[in-house]
């Protein structure tokens, strides 16, 4: 067959068929499938072949995802929600000195940040930025078993998973001070009585967790807590009960005895799971997880293996529409996302916010 007889369509087909055979040995799957009864890493649900298959899907969504930087390092992702420079992200990950880096690598300094502590959301506005927001899926389109796609921490890559449960509320765990009491003292009231007779009062701290709220407030093992805010405390149980009234991020005032001295400290409570990671074996088996994992009015749970730094990124359906904002890497089997309804309520609290896409 001479090349002169080829019309353009036939030639296109010829290229396609021959090139596929030619390239088959380079990027085809046949050679691997014939191998032993073992699935190569590349073929697994989040292997590179999946990522490759979703590359064209993600290409034009990429411009709607930004990196949130603190002191030059990425701490979270952000999702573009307006064409006027509004970005939604996870609030509890950042402190100050924020920057935003877009898909072209350009950096911006936020002109305003608004936080909704109840759901851990933040909206950041960048003046003059003109990114394209993703289109929003209708809420009725989210159900269990549905594929979802999100950018990884390296936001040029994506991960795929399914919605794992029905939507639900995740109630908040109380905050943690980071002190431990000896069981011995709790079980031996006679010793306590002895100590009381010696004029020693309050609950004796047995151990202070490194880097915890108590540590930062200057508490030490051996100190005796006598008061938590307005409440007088005697035994360790009183202290635990008193602290459980407060949430992570709240500041409490503690009165304590160190030897003869009476001291006062202010402590900003930490997240329970971040303070006591060994308390739950499932957490030790889960790798990196988010500090704030609880306290959301409603969440969508999915099984994508995302690192905490990928939180704030978009949760999309297979049509590339936005269905939620990733808000917490919970454990090995679960990542939590806020449904659009909550995001929308939060955005619309700002009268200046442009109408949603």
């Amino acid at each position: 067959m001479g090349y002169s007889t080829l019309n353009s369509r036939a030639f296109g087909r010829w290229i396609a068929s021959h090139a596929v055979i030619l390239l088959g040995s380079f990027c085809g799957e046949d050679s691997l499938q014939a191998a032993e009864d073992y699935l190569d890493r590349s073929e697994r649900v989040n292997g590179w072949k999946t990522r490759k298959a979703f590359e064209s899907f993600y290409e034009d969504k990429r411009a709607s995802v930004v990196e949130i930087l603190e002191a030059g390092h990425q701490i979270a992702l952000g999702t573009v929600v307006s064409s006027m420079g509004h970005i939604v992200t996870k609030a509890s990950e950042f402190g100050e000195a924020l920057e935003v880096r877009d898909h072209t690598g350009k950096r911006f300094v936020p002109s305003s940040i608004r936080v909704d502590a109840s759901n851990d959301l933040a909206v950041i506005q960048i003046d003059g930025a003109q990114w394209q927001p993703l289109s929003w899926a209708s809420p009725s389109k989210v159900d269990m078993g549905m594929w979802v796609v999100s950018p990884h921490e390296d936001e040029t890559q994506i991960r795929v998973g399914v919605i794992s449960t029905l939507p639900r509320e995740v109630t908040r765990k109380p905050g943690a001070l980071g002190i431990k009491f000896s069981r011995f003292f709790r079980r031996q009231p006679s010793i306590l009585e002895d100590e009381t007779s010696q004029g020693l009062r309050g609950a004796r701290i047995d151990e202070v967790v490194d880097g915890s709220a108590a540590d930062q407030a200057g508490l030490k093992a051996g100190d005796r807590i006598t008061r938590v805010n307005e409440r007088d405390v005697e035994a360790s149980g009183d202290v635990i009960e008193a602290i459980q009234q407060y949430e992570a991020g709240e500041v409490i005032t503690l009165k304590y005895q160190r030897g003869e001295e009476s001291l006062v400290a202010k402590a900003t409570l930490g997240f329970f799971d971040a303070t006591f990671p060994d308390a739950d074996l499932n957490i030790t088996l889960s790798g990196d997880i988010s500090k704030r994992r609880t306290g959301f009015q409603e969440i969508l749970q999915h099984d994508m293996p995302l690192p905490p730094k990928a939180m704030g990124g978009p949760l999309m359906n297979l049509q590339g529409e936005l269905v939620g904002i990733n808000i917490s890497r919970f454990d090995r089997v679960a990542t939590l996302a806020l449904p659009l309804k909550l995001v929308q309520d939060f955005l619309e609290m700002d009268p200046d916010f442009p109408s949603l896409p």
Binding site: G2, Y3, S4, L6, N7, S8, F11, G12, I15, A16, H18, A19, V20, L22, L23, C27, G28, Q33, D37, Y38, L39, R41, E43, R44, V45, N46, K49, T50, K52, A53, F54, E55, S56, F57, D143, M144, G145, M146, W147, G161, V162, I163, S164, T165, L166, R168, E169, L281, N282, L285, S286, G287, Q301, D303, P305, L318, D331, R332, V333, A334
Partner: protein
């Protein structure tokens, strides 16, 4: 650009110059990638449809078992498959938690410890919602699968948790998949896309795709014994476990033979302390578990070919395996 090349060909040139091959290569690559992308997403859409179709019945049959385990009902009379380490000792009274939160009385039956396969019988009146089991040998690496269970234990407000993945490897005592599991999932079901049980969640390693399930084949093979409340602790379903008679430890070149048991097959064959065992038949020995598997899965009287190093010199022996002195003993 492509059009230009085509026109070029269709006029006079009969020999394709080198650069046109490059263009074809690029065009072909693009086509391949796009074709793959299209195929893949189509496959994903179909997988989702099948999973969602199977979900209602598979969720209805997935239960909580005992203190913080899971299980799946496989008969209208309330027979529950779970993990051996969840059901625990046989003939024990426990509770199963239905998807609606109802707690029902149940009794533990037998177990097959090597595969971590266990059984529980619900003792209250049915009929119970149940799912069917896949037939033996029907699961292959690369198959789509989905996992249900109660990671972290049963939580009423959350309900059963779904994960979708692929089968990574199958062996007689395990299926490995990339459906991520966590404590509390143990005993929960792994399904194929037809909604048939292909495995029961058992154990995990640290990497996210290190999730192991007891294969349904192990239940099929030990079915009658499990129903008869027997405890199988050996590697083989028939309890006839071969015995070599060695104590080994891991070594950079294989397994170092530390001790040869008296009157064992190893002693009779002339194996010596200090030998480094490297291979049993076709199986290279890198850790103790592999030797345990290679020997324990065979019956007494079978012959294996063992390759080893003695003072750095390779050698091989054909060894007729003996019988474990104590039945059901987990030893080499």
């Amino acid at each position: 650009m492509l059009k230009k090349i085509i026109l070029h060909f269709s006029s006079k040139v009969r020999f394709m110059p080198a650069w046109s091959w490059i263009w074809m290569w690029i065009g072909g690559s693009l086509f391949t990638l796009l074709a793959h992308a299209g195929q893949h997403l189509e496959e994903w859409v179909q997988t989702q449809q099948k999973v969602q179709m199977a979900l209602p019945s598979s969720m209805a049959a997935t239960v909580g078992v005992g203190e913080g385990g899971s299980g799946v009902i496989v008969s209208a009379e309330g027979l529950v498959l779970t993990a051996a380490h969840v059901s625990g000792p046989p003939n024990r009274s426990i509770r199963c938690i239905m998807p609606d939160g109802r707690r029902v009385k149940a009794r533990t039956l037998g177990k097959f410890e090597f595969a971590d396969a266990g059984m529980v019988q619900i003792e209250e009146d049915g009929p119970w919602p149940f799912v069917s089991m896949a037939s033996a040998g029907s699961t292959r690496a690369g198959d789509w699968c989905f996992a249900l269970g109660h990671p972290g234990g049963y939580q009423a407000e959350r309900g059963v948790v779904l994960r979708v993945g692929k089968v990574i490897r199958t062996r007689s005592n395990l299926i490995r998949s990339d459906c991520e599991l966590l404590r509390g999932d143990s005993g929960g079901p792994l399904f194929n896309l037809k909604g048939q049980v292909i495995g029961i969640h058992s154990r995990i390693g640290e990497p996210l795709d290190d999730n192991y399930h007891a294969p349904i084949d192990a239940f099929h093979k030990t079915w009658d014994a499990l129903l008869a409340v027997e405890v199988l602790t050996g590697f083989r379903e028939d309890g006839q476990q071969a015995y070599l008679g060695v104590v080994v430890q891991a070594h950079e070149k294989g397994l170092l033979l530390e001790e040869v048991r008296r009157e064992s097959a190893a002693e009779a064959s002339g194996m010596k302390e200090g030998d480094i065992l490297q291979q049993v038949d076709d199986l290279p020995l890198e850790d103790v578990d592999e030797l345990r598997w290679a020997i324990g899965s065979r019956a007494p009287g079978e012959t294996v070919r063992l390759r080893y190093l003695r003072d750095g010199v390779p050698g091989q022996l054909d060894i007729t395996l003996g019988r474990s002195q104590r039945r059901h003993r987990r030893s080499l």
